[in-house]
């Protein structure tokens, strides 16, 4: 293999879409920021939802991301695309939320080796049904799901993921492989 090409979602919206709005928003233009919100909300929400598996929580986190982006926008130097900056911020917000809410396991998923009971697909599977990939990802243990989401869905490199999660890249590779094998099993392939 080879490195996973950046998924479509990474390039839509295009890297520099909304640049003028970024500048306006950084200057305090709320309308411009609202336009940026509409441009990026689905991507941010997708990442949150796949990282935490709870859609309600993902919506809360999405709001947190945009509030934080508004607060930190003056720090955005344009060294990367706004989408990339926002995406990275999303990962940080999700990971920090998980740290601070670690005690509140009820709203999050199980421990590292948990069976993901709270992340079962909303529609019960009938015998013979095949689980779709989205539902199967939701059943992954936390660590495996995080790495799979960031690597195979979001296109981050192992080194980047390792840095974000505070683990070694060897650990993220092992988690990714484990996630893929578990998904294959869940998908009954």
């Amino acid at each position: 293999m080879s490195a996973v090409a950046l998924p479509e979602s990474m390039t839509v919206p295009s890297s520099y879409a909304g640049d003028s709005d970024v500048a306006l928003a950084a200057a305090g233009d709320r309308r411009a920021f609202e336009r940026l919100y509409h441009l990026h909300v689905n991507r941010v929400f997708s990442l949150c939802a796949r990282m935490v598996t709870d859609r309600t929580r993902a919506e809360e986190l999405t709001q947190d991301v945009f509030v934080r982006a508004w607060e930190k926008l003056h720090l955005f130097r344009g060294e990367s695309a706004f989408g990339t900056w926002l995406h990275r911020m999303t990962v940080n917000v999700v990971l920090n939320a998980r740290k601070t809410e670690g005690r509140n396991r009820a709203r999050f998923e199980d421990d590292e080796e948990g069976n993901g009971v709270d992340s079962l697909p909303s529609r019960p599977l009938a015998p013979g049904d095949r689980m779709d990939l989205e539902a199967a990802i939701a059943t992954l243990p936390k660590g495996a799901r995080r790495v799979f989401t960031l690597h195979d869905i979001e296109g981050y490199k192992h080194e980047e993921i390792a840095e974000m999660l505070g683990v070694t890249s060897g650990a993220t590779k092992a988690q990714l492989h484990r996630a893929r094998l578990l998904l294959r099993e869940a998908l009954n392939r």
Binding site: Y37, A49, W70
Partner: protein, 287 residues
């Protein structure tokens, strides 16, 4: 390098992760391809994982179930308190707290002096005798220790040498805390001495209570505008009741200066007044 070849299924599984990451050496890659070509299961595994990877990369973006902007707008529109404003808030709060801090300091100061005088009096009463342990003043968590005596009917004072006798035993209800140790000891035989010295102690502590009450009154007076008028009314009524009790005790004590019971009553009334004024001084401003 041919040490990896030929691979069996276990070897294939072992090398799979590196292979998929593109990190397997060329020889291993060749061995993996060779094995997969001849093993349907391993080939299927490779294909499945490739499919999962491709499907994951192509997963569509998800959409929130509701418009989240309203909640975001509400949060980013919330007024931001500037540092300057925060400072002024702190200043205002500190200004408000000043009387409360003064009241607390005053109480601590007075408590210390009262304790000191009480201790000195106890130590100085060595010539007193007691027939039996007596009940002494009830300990209260209030800052100034109580210094009064047991009920009058059981106490008689000879008037010479300050010797006091007690006609009936009663249970001691007060422990004296050793300063700095937190340890409590039973003050055996001290009750009578306290009775004997009660008058003197009261003479020494009364002015301090008066001073403390006076200062607390000033604090409360300065805070009148910050307090609810109803609170002020209740406060004044309560103080009037306590003042009446204090006046009665003082009159009675004047007639019977050696009465430990009366001294205790007076002491408790003064204590109540201090406590009430201190509470009033520390009440939060009305909103």
């Amino acid at each position: 390098m041919t040490t990896y070849m030929p691979l069996d299924c276990d070897g294939f599984a072992t090398e799979l992760a590196d292979y998929l990451e593109g990190e397997a050496p060329d020889a291993v890659r060749a061995a993996m391809k060779s094995h997969a070509a001849g093993c349907a299961d391993c080939r299927q595994l490779l294909e499945d994982i490739g499919t999962i990877r491709d499907e994951a990369a192509a997963l569509p973006t998800l959409t929130p179930s509701r418009d989240l902007w309203a909640g975001i707008a509400e949060r980013i529109d919330a007024p931001v308190i500037s540092i300057e404003k925060k400072r002024s808030t702190i200043v205002v709060r500190r200004a408000w707290m000043r009387p409360a801090i003064a009241a607390a300091a005053l109480v601590v100061f007075t408590a210390g002096i009262t304790y000191s005088i009480t201790s000195r009096t106890i130590k100085g009463g060595g010539d007193s005798t007691a027939a039996a342990p007596r009940q002494v003043a009830t300990a209260t968590p209030a800052p100034a220790p109580s210094i009064a005596e047991p009920p009058a009917p059981s106490v008689s004072t000879s008037g010479t040498n300050g010797t006091t006798t007690a006609s009936a035993p009663s249970t001691s209800t007060r422990n004296v805390e050793r300063r700095g140790t937190g340890e409590r000891r039973e003050p055996e035989g001290t009750s009578s001495r306290l009775v004997a010295n009660g008058e003197r102690v009261m003479d020494e502590t009364q002015p301090m209570y008066d001073r403390e009450i006076d200062k607390l009154r000033q604090i409360v007076k300065a805070r009148r505008t910050q307090l609810d008028p109803k609170t002020i009314t209740v406060l004044e009524q309560s103080i009037a009741v306590i003042d009446s009790a204090i006046a009665q005790s003082r009159r009675a004590l004047k007639a019977d200066p050696a009465s430990g019971y009366l001294a205790k009553e007076l002491n408790q009334s003064l204590e109540k007044k201090v406590e009430l004024l201190r509470t009033a001084a520390m009440l939060p401003a009305r909103t």
